[in-house]
């Protein structure tokens, strides 16, 4: 083992940005000419100099053991001089210059269980969060849902058979770590019951005024409980956002029976064609059903299938729905429209339909 370090460095920042770039990149930095997706998971970039860079993208589990990281490092040494990177969606990319190494690398990756794909009009890795693995706020597990959904959608990772890119995100509570609020399909874990007030702990752990102020709807009021300063919650005003819990640990929301998942659709981030858009509510609630959440998997699959069948080339989920209209989206997917779909927060009125631009169907018979 290394001897303990004695000098203490701080504020050194991350490694310099050029430090781990492969030579082909160092040389052609900023001088790439065009790219091509050679096949799913294999990206070719050609530089003005004529140099070529092949990126092979493999599915990585975001929750990774150092043992697997060592495997990736070894593969990089073997196939591409030790150069690799992760993507902004947690896939791993091997950066090759030798075209001949592509096939053996892919074979090896497959064998080890890290299949290649996620490029072009496909489904790539699900951006997700901690879930029951590490976060105190989680209303479900992130990793388990993601694994279950990706197992089902796997063909769309390996093939580029969708109209456009389809980005899925998962977040385990309303804090929405990630980009759930702007994803083609978002799976969001939700609490649906009142925060449970720990009478004992609250007075010790939390400041009453801060706790009261934390509630966006003003549902929390100071209250004396058993002679101690505490709070009460007005049930009708609580929309289970969890902000009080963030501020005061003695107000927990987790509820084994009633926590679960909601599904959102039609968000996007890129400026390509349509401006970026938020995700919109599709399914308000599906119960937690570990370990494989079959209802959630089926619901996502259904939406993907209907999209795949109906959208036109390049159309992202949200663009497609905007073209056909929400009434038809609900009809085609068979999802029920409920009062929960109608916004009732701050700017709710902005989402009401304020025109007669409607698609009618002739009376039956």
């Amino acid at each position: 083992m290394a001897t303990e370090i004695t000098t203490r460095k701080t504020d050194i920042g991350p490694p310099h940005y050029q430090k781990y770039l492969p030579p082909v990149i160092q040389k052609n930095y900023g001088k790439w000419k065009f790219h091509e997706i050679l096949k799913p998971g294999v990206l070719l970039h050609v530089a003005e100099s004529g140099d070529k860079l092949y990126s092979v993208r493999a599915a990585a589990p975001r929750l990774t053991s150092t043992k697997t990281i060592r495997l990736f490092a070894e593969l990089a040494d073997q196939f591409c001089g030790g150069y690799l990177r992760y993507t902004s969606r947690n896939n791993i990319e091997f950066l090759l210059t030798d075209e001949k190494q592509i096939a053996p690398l892919i074979e090896r990756l497959k064998k080890e269980g890290y299949p290649v794909g996620g490029m072009g009009p496909s489904i790539t890795n699900i951006v997700h969060t901690q879930g029951w693995v590490h976060c105190h706020s989680a209303a479900s597990d992130a990793s388990g849902v993601v694994k279950s959904v990706m197992d089902e959608l796997f063909p769309h990772f390996e093939k580029m058979d969708l109209p456009g890119k389809l980005r899925i995100a998962f977040a385990c509570c309303l804090n929405m770590c990630g980009a759930v609020h702007c994803s083609d399909i978002a799976i969001l874990a939700v609490h649906r019951t009142l925060p449970k007030i720990n009478k004992e702990a609250l007075p010790k752990m939390c400041e009453i005024p801060t706790t009261v102020a934390s509630c966006p709807t003003g549902a929390i009021r100071p209250k004396m409980t058993d002679g101690k300063q505490s709070v009460e919650i007005i049930e009708e005003q609580c929309m289970y956002c969890g902000n009080c819990f963030t501020v005061c640990p003695a107000m927990t929301l987790a509820d084994a029976e009633n926590d679960g998942l909601s599904i959102w659709v039609g968000g996007k981030v890129s400026n390509a064609r349509h401006e970026p858009m938020f995700s919109k509510l599709a399914i308000p609630f599906i119960p937690n059903n570990p370990p494989r959440w079959p209802e959630v998997v089926a619901a996502v699959k259904n939406i993907v299938d209907v999209y795949a069948k109906n959208a036109s080339k390049y159309e992202r989920m949200g663009e497609w729905i905007e073209r056909i209209g929400w009434p038809r989206f609900f009809k085609l997917t068979g999802i029920e429209f409920t009062k929960y779909h109608i916004d009732d927060f701050r700017h709710a009125g902005e989402s009401y339909k304020r025109s007669t631009h409607l698609k009618h169907t002739p009376a039956e018979g």
Binding site: I5, G30, R70, G82, P115, H181, C182, N271, R273, F278
Partner: protein
Amino acid sequence: MADKKKPTPKLDELEKGPWPSFVKEMKLSAETNVAAQDLLGILERSYDEKIGHWKHGGIVGVKGYGGGIIGRYNDIPQDFPEIAEFHTIRVNQPPGWFYSSDALRTLCDIWEKHGSGLTNMHGSTGDIIFLGTKTTELEPIFSKLTEAGFDLGGSGSDMRTPSACCGMARCEWACYDTLAAVYNITMTYQDELHRPAFPYKFKIKMAGCPNDCVASIARADMSIIGTWRDSIQVDKDQVTAYASGPNRDIARDIVGKCPSKCMGWDGKNLTIDDSNCVRCMHCINAMPKALAPGKDRGATILVGSKAPIIEGALLSSVLIPFIKIEPPYDDIKELIQAMWELWGENGKNRERIGEFIQRIGLGNFLEQIGLEPVPEMVSQPRTNPYVFYDIKKG
């Protein structure tokens, strides 16, 4: 150690199927790590009970730093003592997430010795996440990390670890050097990154072009997104070559999907009215050999995106329609400073800058940070007549 392995029938189900299994990863680490074993155990318990077992973290950290560590404790330590403390460490990733195999192995060395051996590659903000260790391990880990050339990322009310798309390192569309810029900005603000002193978190994300491959417009208090001012570069021969390919319908798929309807295609010639192009990237995306962003490149700076807590999610909005992004980035830093000063002084506790701007009004915000209002900042001028006329100023 073998005796600590409890059966995990539910989690075992998640080893099946084609997608890489996180359970397999946990088991890999659990082979040699007791904390990972307990993590498997507590997760199986959660799968049984449909409830999490983590408590709010207290304040833990390394000396002189306020951020970078998320404290975590479980609520049944009697059953899972190895993870009674299970703090995560946010390590500032290399810009663009480029690694050498050696760098990765160094990180593994440190983490296998001092933590669970489990990681997130990467966290949603972009950090390397070391998933779970004890308080006593924090200082040793930190020392070794810095020795190896790595430092902590942000957490709490500080500047969070900035991130960037791979940009010029690999992408022909990068309109500015995202990696150089993100590195420079990160280095400049080490203090703000490590010592929380803001009203709330502040995230910076840099994308080289409007495709925005780091989702900066959705989740960065400051989004710097590359764009260009002049005309799209057209290679006519490549347009022709594209058109003659199979399943190609330029009229329908490219011209027909141009949001500003500024393209034309007569079956032979592609025309672009660049003065009306909104730089959406679609045509370039579709024909990467034939088209490319112009040569007069820079970026649009936007502010204020965030998740929904508490006033609802926000997308970033335009602050500077076009600016050149060049070292030493003084103009950008001046802008950042001006915003931080104003928000730092007037922002409420836990009020992100996007919410702050909405509260005080974008017009006032601009005035205070010394920017001129331009129509590019709005999708449309106000529709309500509630103008705070200031007769004295005119």
